[in-house]
Symmetry: C2
Subunit: 193 residues, 2 copies
DNA sequence: CTATTGTTTGTGAACGTTCACTCACAATAT
DNA sequence: ATATTGTGAGTGAACGTTCACAAACAATAG
């Protein structure tokens, strides 16, 4: 296990704090209070606040790699893979609001080069997976091939991010998964041959 | 004039500071040093730091309303309007990196209800304009009408935002306007009848 | 033209508060 | 008995903001 129980608790609490009120709410004081230990106890588990942020990103990364592995191992048409990926991610964010509030906030991780580098890598990895699916779909004659796979991936990922962001700003007042289905319907119509 | 010379200088310097190193670089001390006046002098022009942030948003809003007014008054096909809007915005961000770094960072404005309300309004206004153009294009038989205008607007705006964000994270190492043209080519191919 | 008054814009020192982090020490678990 | 985990008090630095005060300039009065 990469993180101890306590470390996981700290990371999850940190995500919740950020999700609730933004990055400036993530202080060692708030963190320790929410967990119910003293401030100094935090430093038994992480040597600095930066390491907690790195922990958050490492959790995101693990999660995303798991999703992607599942996806690439899947035996399915490109259309099914793309739909599966999209709807799965909407479902995940719907069930994990705190993560949804943090994961697209690049601003949170600009303090440090290590942080922004991680964010960039996660984004790039993700784009590659989607481009791969679209290209495969084009070669299998499922998707139209008169459009750039890269630009399509910008549109799909961009729409996903924008919808989740608006959902958060609107304080979760619409059904995210349903909106995800609507988005998929449009994508499918646009992209299929 | 809504803002005095000095106020505009403060707002622009604030945008530059945020663009450079993120929100935590925007302190009254850094701001005053960069301008070359004492910290306390800032308070001759804004009664609080929050008002400076509100000033930034008000500048964004003004700018966007100007663009939108220009667009709605334009005599052109929906296709031309959509292309014009998209390329214009890419050009604007290419020429105003500091603004590009700030404008999509909703996280910056989560401190205060007035701030996040403003951000939400700007996003909504923008979406309405794009939905309007697409709907008009569908009615004019320029665009395919078997897709939702709203979902299309998510994809277009989402792609724009994602590309600009990646451009910033990649430290401006690719040609943003060229990428904008590539995006437009894909959008046009997908959406035209 | 000069003296008086007011306004704007600036300054440096200080304010109370919060921040991340440290340390000597105590409790707990193995 | 030793290692792990927790504590409370304390650190210096940074934060936004306020304050008394001064220089510069304009407006007005004699």
């Amino acid at each position: 296990m990469e993180f101890t129980k306590r470390q996981q608790e700290i990371i999850n609490t940190a995500i919740e704090l950020i999700a609730d009120k933004g990055i400036q709410e993530l202080t060692i004081k708030n963190l320790s209070q929410k967990i119910g230990i003293a401030e100094s106890a935090i430093y038994r588990h992480f040597k600095s606040k930066l390491d907690i942020l790195l922990g958050i990103l490492s959790l995101f990364r693990e999660n995303k790699e798991h999703m992607n592995r599942q996806l690439t191992e899947m035996e399915a048409t490109a259309t099914d893979k793309l739909r599966h990926m999209l709807l799965k991610r909407f479902a995940y964010f719907a069930a994990n609001r705190a993560v949804a509030a943090v994961i697209f906030s690049e601003e949170l991780f600009r303090n440090d080069h290590r942080l922004s580098e991680q964010v960039y890598q996660i984004m790039q990895d993700n784009q590659q997976v989607i481009i791969g699916i679209i290209t495969a779909g084009q070669q299998a004659d499922e998707f139209r091939d008169d459009v750039s796979a890269k630009e399509m991936s910008f549109m799909i990922t961009g729409a996903l991010r924008l919808i989740v962001t608006q959902w958060r700003i609107a304080e979760y007042t619409f059904d995210l998964e349903q909106e995800g289905k609507r988005l998929w319907a449009t994508i499918e119509t646009l992209v299929k041959k």
